[in-house]
């Protein structure tokens, strides 16, 4: 810090540092909290049932969380702009069936082409959502609730009750969902790359930061010269494309696909984002938090299954986690706001 001659640098520098510490602390406590919960959960489950931390079991855990983490990354983009995408489960279903249908018909099709087509289909669905939200000025909740059913309906029409079976799919494709390199499954690597890429975009690039501005104050963003419609459109398209990617990976992992692939995923994905600290009213949250949230939700489900807890309690546990995450956010938010207000007052007085 250069000591200015205009003013005493003391208080400002101190205040700046203190404020920085305060905000950083909040972000850390949010993501650290999830990591801590994860560690606790795994430790407790492992004590009760040691097989939980065998390599195979952990591998499954990671595989299960991967697709959700990819979807949660996309969902974060949308939620940060104060929108929501409820159609991701249906988009995943469409693209999963597309991948299965294409490959069982033409086993020789290069895999990158299948991925590209799956993501393109997802992006198209996202574009449709985005156009209704930005140009149509319809709330995202309503638009994507509509497309949640519409896209699922399309999947039923298209599959016509049939399903794709693992036997008809090429081996190389199925390997993607199960094989590993150096002990790390491909699926997990893909998820990590996606989460890191989207996370970096949202953190360190202008267009990513503008998504936060839009979610934090939509009118203000417009006045600040942010091209809001274009950015919201991008968020929906990327979220759609990632749901498309998730669909292709779904087929690779499970092999068997029918029109019901990914039913109900949207709620799990939104829950993961919220548990991970993404504020449902936009402006706050990170892709990394959302991905951690997906991992935590996956872990809870697995651990409850391992511990042979009844299915009803599994749902209740996830609900309880969601509520406590929201309560924690609200509590932290209130405390910080009060602290900042007091500080501002002291300065003025």
């Amino acid at each position: 810090m250069s000591a200015g001659t205009v003013r005493a640098p003391g208080p400002a520098t101190n205040e700046s540092a203190r404020a920085r510490r305060l905000t950083e602390w909040v972000f850390r406590i949010r993501e650290l909290g999830i990591v801590l919960a994860l560690v606790l959960l795994i430790a407790v489950t492992a004590i009760l049932e040691p097989r939980f931390i065998e390599a195979d079991s952990l591998r499954n855990l990671a595989l299960n969380a991967s697709i959700f983490a990819i979807l949660a990354a996309g969902q974060t983009l949308v939620i940060v702009t104060r929108n929501v995408d409820l159609s991701v489960g249906s988009v995943l279903g469409l693209s999963a069936y597309l991948a299965g249908d294409l490959l069982s018909g033409n086993p020789g099709l290069p895999l990158p082409v299948v991925f590209a087509l799956g993501m393109a289909l997802g992006a198209a669905c996202g574009l449709f959502n985005a156009i209704l939200v930005t140009w149509g000025q319809v709330p995202a909740l309503v638009v994507t609730l509509g497309t949640l059913y519409a896209f699922r309906g399309l999947a039923f029409l298209w599959t016509d009750g049939s399903q794709v079976n693992a036997e008809t799919l090429p081996e190389a494709f199925l390997d993607l969902g199960t094989s590993s390199v150096l002990g790390v499954p491909y699926l997990v690597i893909i998820a990590l790359v996606v989460v890191l890429a989207v996370g970096q975009w949202l953190r360190d690039y202008r267009s990513g930061r503008e998504l936060y501005a839009i979610g934090s104050n939509p009118d203000g963003a417009r006045l600040a010269g942010v091209r809001s419609d274009r950015r919201v459109l991008t968020a929906f398209v990327v979220a759609g494309a990632l749901a498309g990617l998730g669909g292709v990976l779904f087929t690779a992992r499970f092999g068997t696909v029918d029109a019901t692939a990914g039913v109900g995923y949207e709620l799990t994905v939104i829950a993961a984002a919220v548990v991970g600290g993404v504020a449902i009213f936009g402006g706050i949250g990170s892709v990394y938090g959302a991905a951690l949230g997906a991992l935590l939700l996956g872990c809870i489900t697995s651990s409850l299954i391992v511990l042979r807890v009844e299915a009803f309690w599994q749902q209740a546990a996830i609900g309880a986690l969601l509520l406590s995450a929201i309560a924690l956010d609200r509590l932290l938010g209130l405390r910080i706001e009060a602290a900042l207000r007091r500080r501002s007052a002291r300065r003025a007085g």
Binding site: R7, A12, A17, A19, T23, Y205, R209, R222, G225, A345
Partner: protein
């Protein structure tokens, strides 16, 4: 560059209508490099619309706009910014979840390798700007929780963050203290010396005469006068803005003043207002004066129980109100006409009758059902008493003019037969004719023994209507003036935090 022949900005015969309302009918403005031009006019004269046209927020319907001699047509604020126009708007445009630094550079972050945001450069750039204004704020601090004055400073820093050829400021000083205004003016003068053109909107005449070179006066959506500031006097300025004599506007009747109806005792909300104590008596009109952001509306909201308070309490006719319960405040006999009638005062899509009877739903209900007959009867009665101009009572409230909308809000509260009426900016955005009707009504109500607490930013209204003036500055009550003591200078001094020599 001094006194360049081509104006930096030129607006010719611009018009803008919102539906049937013509907000701007004759927008003519010329800004030259190295000049500070004041834009003056009453509320609703069309200043903000003109600013929004310049800033690309709204598009003009007709007319010509040139920047540096080239015809331009801004489709968005982004275009305006790229053309070198920085605008500070009246309404807050900040992002509460983000840091001050990000608020300032949003969309124009300094970039490092791989086009990634260079956070250190961003911090240093914004720290530099804050230092230049001499503000002890850190760039990393989140905007949430900043006082209104600090938020205004962030807006100014935002406008200074790029080398603007034109700086437009819509009431930038409204929430600033004397020292902060001085610092802002120093910056404005520096910009002027560097050849920037500045358009400056303020309601404080002394500031206008201090900083401006030229002045444009607007009235009823049109530019009516254009002059060098040296050729103007404050009196002439006011006459041109108002276009009429002031005296006849405020028909205040004498009223007999009774017992205290409202007693506010040491009310405090941390960071917003502190230690507010006063009372309002039956038949009395008390004005709460002060600058925008001084905490007046917040005090009113707290009295009515909308916002929570950290300390202090409110009594109505000697009975203490439970904090944070608007329904209890209503039952105790408080009516609250909020500042923003479109958002908070009315349900715009509901009928006039339903809006007017909103507060009386319980009384009108038979077996839990409300018939439209009883609603209409009530609404018709009040419509007649307030001389409401409407087509049908079933029409949605949004079709009414601003003044008539305000009458519906008033009738809604008067129907509850309140003991105390809180009016937040009762005549904002209302045409002159209806304005004096509202004033006559207020005066009549006080004459009937109603206690009135009025918040107003229009000084003539405060001085014309109030029996007593309470002045707030930065969340504190700084002065109490009787009707006889109150004059423009005293109120403004107290509102801007200047202490008078003899207390």
């Amino acid at each position: 560059m001094s006194q360049a022949e081509t104006p930096v900005v030129e607006l010719r015969d611009a018009t803008k209508s919102y539906g049937a309302v013509r907000a701007l009918s004759d927008g003519n403005l010329v800004l030259r490099s190295g000049e500070v031009r004041a834009l003056m006019g009453e509320n609703g004269a069309g200043k903000s619309t003109l600013v929004k046209v310049l800033g690309g927020v709204v598009r003009r319907d007709t007319g010509d706009m040139r920047v540096g001699g080239e015809p331009v047509d801004f489709h968005s604020p982004h275009d305006a910014r790229d053309a070198g126009l920085a605008v500070i708007y009246q309404e807050p445009t900040l992002f509460p979840d983000l840091s001050i630094a990000e608020n300032v550079v949003m969309g124009y972050h300094p970039l490092g390798g791989l086009k990634r945001i260079d956070r250190r450069a961003m911090r240093e750039q914004v720290q530099g700007l804050l230092d230049r204004l001499g503000v002890p704020l850190g760039p990393e601090r989140p905007v949430r929780g900043l006082s209104i004055a600090d938020q205004q400073i962030v807006e100014i820093v935002k406008a200074l963050s790029f080398d603007a050829r034109v700086l437009v400021m819509d009431e930038p000083t409204a929430a600033l203290s004397g020292a902060e205004v001085e610092r802002l003016f120093t910056v404005v003068r520096t910009l002027r010396e560097q050849g920037a053109a500045v358009l400056f909107i303020s309601h404080r005449l002394d500031e206008v005469f201090e900083i401006s070179d030229t002045v444009t006066v607007m009235r009823d959506g049109a530019v009516v006068h254009d002059a060098r500031i040296a050729d103007m006097t404050p009196d002439e300025m006011v006459r041109r803005m108002v276009g009429r004599e002031l005296g006849a506007l405020f028909p205040k009747q004498a009223a007999s003043i009774g017992e205290p109806v409202l007693t506010v005792d040491r009310l405090t909300r941390e960071g917003v207002f502190f230690d507010i104590s006063f009372d309002v008596r039956a038949g009395e009109i008390v004005a709460l004066a002060g600058l925008v952001g001084a905490g007046r509306s917040e005090v009113a909201r707290a009295i009515f129980g909308i916002d929570r308070v950290d300390a202090g309490h409110v009594e109505v006719a000697g009975r203490r109100l439970p904090p944070g319960k608007p329904l209890a405040a209503m039952r105790a006999g408080i009516g609250f006409v909020p500042e923003d009638r479109r958002q908070q005062g009315l349900v715009m899509d509901l009928s006039i009758a339903r809006n007017a009877s909103m507060t009386r739903m319980r009384a009108l209900a038979r077996l839990g059902l409300i018939g439209s007959g009883s609603e209409n009867r009530l609404a018709r009665e009040w419509a007649a008493r307030l001389q409401l101009k409407f087509h049908r009572l079933e029409d949605p409230a949004r079709f009414l003019s601003g003044g008539n909308q305000q009458k519906v809000v008033l009738s809604k509260w008067l129907a509850t037969e309140p003991k105390l009426l809180i009016l937040d900016e009762p005549t904002r955005g209302i045409d002159v004719g209806t304005k004096s009707e509202v004033h006559r009504l207020m005066s009549q109500l006080a004459g009937d023994g109603l206690a009135v607490l009025m918040i107003s930013s229009e000084l003539p209204e405060v001085l014309g209507m109030a029996d007593r003036v309470l002045v707030m500055h930065e969340g504190r009550l700084t002065r109490e003036l009787s009707r006889a003591e109150a004059d423009e200078e005293r109120v403004i001094r107290a509102a801007t935090g200047q202490v008078e020599a003899s207390a």
